[in-house]
């Protein structure tokens, strides 16, 4: 997936929207290259079980570096339908390809209202630049 075509949350998750065979909308969620760079030296990722329901803005998992833990926030309301279970063994290479093999979970969207709060790539770039300036 190309970063320019994705949506982004304020908390640095990226989102790709697709439609499944049943016609339901499914969000694929990962975290951005910018966030990965800030986290550095990832050691563990804790992902939810398939079937768990999540709501927008609430944590669905955690990502850990040696001395920090960050929550992973769901950008949408819905249900976890797939989890990238190979991710935990690929943390070393996650930053090489955060937008394709580096996805975390797929969420079947129950309510689309939260989507309108997400940013496009240009707006997200701006947020990242602002954060860098604040540091």
């Amino acid at each position: 997936m190309k970063p320019e075509e994705l949506l982004y949350s304020k908390t640095h998750e990226w989102v790709a929207i697709a439609t499944d065979e049943a016609g339901a909308k499914v969000a694929t969620v990962g975290i951005s290259a910018f966030a990965l760079e800030a986290l550095t030296d990832l050691v563990f990722v804790d992902l939810p079980q398939v079937g768990r329901s999540v709501s927008a803005g609430e944590p669905f998992g955690e990502i850990e570096s040696v001395k920090a833990v960050s929550d992973l926030y769901s950008p949408v309301d819905g249900e976890i339908v797939e989890v990238n279970s190979t991710l935990v063994d690929q943390l070393e290479t996650l930053s090489d390809d955060p937008y394709t093999s580096g996805w975390f979970v797929k969420i079947r969207i129950a309510d689309e209202t939260a989507l309108s709060g997400l940013m496009d790539h240009a707006a997200y770039q701006k947020q990242c630049e602002q954060e860098m300036a604040d540091e």
Partner: protein, 464 residues
């Protein structure tokens, strides 16, 4: 082991076969000379207070008096079983009773429990006490407010006591932001936890007002006593408004730290909280000492038996060695040493919170990091090469590239000078040399990422 001197059947006849192990336990088979050499060699790979200056901020690494080790090891103290009858332990109970009274006096609070086994355990115990009090008086109160510079144990202890935690901001000067505090105090506030002097080594000059605000809102004030080394005999938590506090005897009252324990975490509380303290407490009637279990409102027990008595006996020895004047002199000299070091360090490492401190101060390597890529971690590691233990780094979280330095009163001026000199030289050194420091220790920087990604937590054989 000696031969069995009682007539006996074989083990197989005494216990059912399904309960017995098929083989002896898997343990090392080494002779005593090998064992001694192994552990003595290991010991030489540690830095310690007895061998090195150890300015680890927030940890109060002061000298550990040898008389305390000797006296606490007397058979009449070390050999007591916790369930001996009280008439056989009157001397021990006398020590513990006096210690309760001395800690009450030092804290300015009414009642003391010696049971908690460590500072964090004391925090948790006091919050259990607060929870029980709130249950009796105003059960809707379920929030603990904690400043953003607090030790991580504060929010963790509050969570274990079933409270929700809310963070209170600090001002740019490192004090509690009174407006933010006011906005967060309400009818759900159970406790406000505060470290004073705070983790930046600053005394909260508004402490009386802060306590008043919390009390007006119906909450209790908890004082994290980690930094008591700055104020012994100068001011008392009970007098500035705290309702409860813990002591860290392994810090303030000379420990020792034991490579990470044992500590102890006695707590002191006001009269209205006293009925909730854990059982037992030591009581005295006439000349007889006893254990009081008959306390209907008690939260119960937080530890088996009496507590970390061995640490408490050392505390008693320390307090009896100093007396009132001596104890005050401890704090005076701890504060003097910290201010002296601050006056030397501030010229090459900025100390954002100003020219004066209590028993410790926090310098920042932010400029060095930005301009030359040298981090607080690099500096700490390089100091090991100069024969000094590193300061605490990256704490408190509210200062970037923090170096938290606490010299304690038991260091002399020339050591402080040598340390300041080394610190200065480090800040002038080639960044590349610092990134790879330390160079002279038995190992260089460990690969912590590898340790956490594929944890090896027990011996897995000689091959890696």
């Amino acid at each position: 082991m000696p031969a069995c001197d009682v007539p006996s059947e074989p083990v197989e006849r005494l216990l059912p076969p399904e309960a017995l192990a098929q083989t002896a336990p898997s343990l090392p088979e080494v002779t005593e000379p090998e064992l001694v050499r192994h552990f003595v060699n290991l010991s030489t790979q540690n830095m310690s207070v007895d061998s090195h200056f150890y300015p680890l901020g927030s940890c109060t690494m002061k000298y550990n008096p040898k008389r305390n080790e000797t006296l606490s090891s007397l058979a009449g103290l070390l050999g007591l079983h916790p369930y001996q009858r009280v008439e056989t332990i009157q001397g021990m109970l006398s020590i513990l009773h006096s210690l309760q009274e001395m800690l009450a006096e030092i804290s300015g609070l009414e009642a003391v429990s010696l049971q908690p086994a460590a500072g964090a355990h004391g925090e948790m115990t006091a919050l259990f006490v607060a929870a029980a009090y709130v249950r009796d008086t105003d059960p809707a109160r379920n929030v603990v407010l904690i400043p953003d510079g607090a030790h991580g144990t504060n929010p963790a202890s509050a969570a274990m006591a079933g409270f929700k935690t809310v963070e209170v901001k600090s001002t740019p000067g490192g004090l509690v932001d009174l407006d933010d505090l006011a906005s967060k105090l309400d009818e759900r506030t159970a406790v406000f936890m505060i470290t004073n002097p705070n983790t930046l080594g600053i005394f909260e000059r508004n402490i009386a007002k802060i306590c008043q605000m919390v009390h007006d809102a119906g909450g209790l004030v908890y004082l994290d006593g980690a930094n008591m080394n700055a104020i012994l005999g100068v001011t008392r938590p009970g007098d500035f408004g705290a309702d409860m506090m813990h002591f860290n005897p392994h810090k303030t009252f000379s420990g020792p730290h034991g490579g990470g324990g044992p500590g102890a975490g006695p707590i002191a509380v006001t009269g209205k909280l006293a009925p909730y303290l854990p059982v037992p407490v030591v009581k005295k009637s006439g000349e007889e000492y006893g254990l009081d279990f008959d306390r209907p409102k008690t939260i119960g027990r937080v530890r088996s038996f009496f507590g970390n008595t061995g640490v408490l006996v050392r505390t008693y020895c320390y307090l009896r060695t100093h007396g009132p004047e001596g104890l005050r002199r401890v704090s005076e000299n701890a504060v003097l040493n910290a201010n002296y070091l601050l006056s030397r360090v501030k010229h090459f490492l900025p100390v954002p919170q100003g020219d004066r401190c209590m028993h410790e101060f926090v310098a920042t390597a932010q400029t060095l990091k930005r301009e030359r890529g040298v981090s607080a971690l690099d500096i700490g590691k390089r100091l090991l090469d100069y024969g000094f233990h590193a300061p605490t780094v990256y704490f408190p979280l509210i200062v970037h590239e923090a170096l938290m330095i606490e010299p304690t009163e038991s260091e002399c001026r020339s050591t402080l000078d040598a340390f300041a000199e080394a610190l200065f030289r480090v800040t002038e050194e080639d960044p590349d040399l610092l990134h790879h420091a330390p160079h002279t220790t038995s190992v260089s920087r460990p690969d912590e990422v590898r340790a956490a990604r594929q944890p090896i937590l027990k011996w897995a054989g000689p091959e890696r």
